[in-house]
Amino acid sequence: MDKLIEVLQQLVNGVSLGSIYALIALGYTMVYGVLRFINFAHGDIYMLGAYSGFLLAPLFAQTFKFGEFDTFTPENTLFILCGAGLVMVLSMAICAGIGVLIERIAYRPLRERPRLNVLITAIGVSLFLQNMTQYRLGADPKAFPQLIPVHVVEGLGNLTILTSQLAIIIATVILLIILRFVVMRTKLGLAMRALSLNPTACSIMGVNNDIVISFTFALGSALAAAAGILVSMDSPSINPLMGNLPGIKAFVAAVLGGIGNIPGAALGGLIIGILETFVVAIGFPQWRDGIAFAVLIVILLFKPTGILGRVEREKV
């Protein structure tokens, strides 16, 4: 029984970690879908999301009494969630704007060029964002203000689940549902899907590709920002380089799921998260970063386009 609890426990830890990877991976995969390039600066949007939350929270601290509640109670739950939600939505909006701006300045002029060239500007943008943040706000880790009270959820016996972990999982599910709606049910979503199938045909049909691409960047960046805020609620220490590692891992997750495939990115993120957690749990924490890659390699060798990726038939 104890073993079962432990496995369940690590599964919860893995899912909450994986949700974060999933949210970031979605941005990679959507951008890849429309532009066929890896947006290396995406991990830094996640970092900027956390920092905008850090800068925004004090503005609403008085109205929403951030940090004043120790536990969730039936009376205060809605109030707390409104406050945290507001900060999150605003940060998402800010980062969506930044994402669009980056695309406009650094990526669009190179769109007709080989896509590896955009990789260089993306690396440049990534370095710029990291070091500019460090220059303006300092290199030291900053304590992220407490948006929601973090404590163990009662009534689960030996299972330790924190409110912040629960928040990550629930918020991720909600965001995924919204994303699914946007992509499948709206005109812009339709245009996004069309663009990823065939850009030329798409623009012949009267779609303004520029707007769709900007929209994709906005959507991906907003999700990354949400991930940044959610992580910071759970692990309240933020620094300018916090996006590097999750960025790479989310990239791995996106490829694992089949890059360009939206459900694949979510699935890939969850798999990587759970996998990492179990590698640590069975006693190989030092191999954490390595094993995720090893499994990815094995999977890719058997399924070269990722788990849900479609095999693109080459036309001659």
């Binding site: 260089i120 390595g290 890659f293 890719l300």
Partner: protein, 339 residues
């Protein structure tokens, strides 16, 4: 003897000459520039060899630092453990013949070791295409790093001191010359046209009966060999290696050089390697100049802000790479290569 082989010999002799007469002078009087010169050489080897994979063969490897790490650690272990056994007391005496033989052996060992690793990685993973290949090579690079981090006899995160600072201008630029020679000859040979066909149209190449997988693996193994050589040169110059020195960002540095130099242009990549090695050092000098108003001094102290901006601007203004396909540069040199 063919003309290109003659060129190689001449260049090697020049390296010996420069090293023999200039080495001590530069190393003692201009140690800083000497260091930059060696770093340039190491970066040229890394970038030219990666260019064979990423540029000429059209594959996308993101794990070059991993093979460099293998080379560095292999040659360091060789020198630390086997040199004393083989050369005995003579190794410590600084006898130039012994040190150079020791350097040759450990560098060759590093290259072969890295090439074997490259073969082991390349055979299964080169079936993958594009970004899938990129992530797998990135993965292998990271696995190599994490493995070193967990091997206590390699010093783990404490790093490994390397006995014997054998690297000098001859070994560095001799390897540079050899690397360029191998890559250029390979690509320009009848055999080597296969690399370009793999890049230009893999399906057509296969239809013409070209074994594309074989070409990819050959490119990958050759590139890994030279990455290993670069690692050995690095290890025997800095005399200290740490796993963090070969992380993902080191691989990215090399990829940046290749793309900025113009994929598939050896001369462009060589110049990009020179430029991108000097650039951070020039920015260092800039941070200390008196011209800059005090208000901006802080911005310059963080060299990466300006570096990243320059990177973006370079790419936006020269999207075809610094030299494109190198044709313009060849014209400037006033001769065109007869293939």
């Amino acid at each position: 003897m063919s003309r290109s082989l003659l060129n190689l010999m001449l260049a090697l002799v020049a390296c010996v000459f420069i090293s023999f007469f200039g080495e001590n002078f530069i190393a003692s009087k201009f140690a800083y520039y000497y260091d930059i010169l060696i770093s340039i050489g190491v970066n040229i080897i890394l970038a030219t060899s990666l260019n064979l994979v990423n540029g000429y063969t059209g594959q996308f490897s993101l794990g070059h630092a991993g093979f460099m790490a293998i080379g560095a650690y292999a040659s360091a272990s060789w020198s630390n453990h086997l040199d004393p056994l083989i050369f005995g007391i003579v190794a410590g005496s600084g006898n130039p013949v012994v040190t150079n033989v020791a350097m040759f052996v450990s560098t060759l060992f590093a290259g072969i070791f890295a090439a074997i690793a490259g073969f082991a990685v390349g055979v299964p993973s080169l079936r993958l295409k594009g970004d899938y290949l990129a992530i797998v090579t990135l993965g292998f690079g990271e696995i190599i790093r994490v493995a070193i981090l967990n091997l206590d006899f390699l010093g783990a995160s404490r790093g490994l001191s390397v006995t014997g600072t054998y690297t000098n201008l001859f070994w560095t630029y001799g390897s540079v010359v050899l690397c360029i020679y191998v890559v250029v000859s390979l690509v320009h040979s009848t055999y080597g046209r296969g690399f370009l066909t793999v890049r230009d149209d893999e399906v057509a190449a296969e239809a013409m009966g070209i074994n594309t997988t074989k070409y990819k693996v050959v490119a990958f193994v050759v590139a890994s060999f030279f990455a290993g050589v670069a690692g050995a040169l690095y290890a025997h110059f800095k005399a200290f290696v740490t796993p963090e020195g070969f992380n993902f960002f080191r691989s990215v540095d090399v990829v940046v050089i290749v793309i900025l130099g113009g994929m598939g242009s050896t001369i462009g990549v060589v110049f990009a390697a020179v430029l991108l090695t000097i650039l951070p050092e020039a920015l260092r000098a800039l941070a200390h100049t008196q011209f800059v108003p005090t208000a901006y001094q802080g911005l310059l102290e963080n060299r990466l802000i300006l570096y990243s901006l320059l990177l973006i601007i370079l790419m936006l203004t020269r999207p075809q790479g610094l030299f494109g396909d190198g044709a313009a540069f060849k014209k400037w040199l006033g001769r065109s290569r007869a293939d």
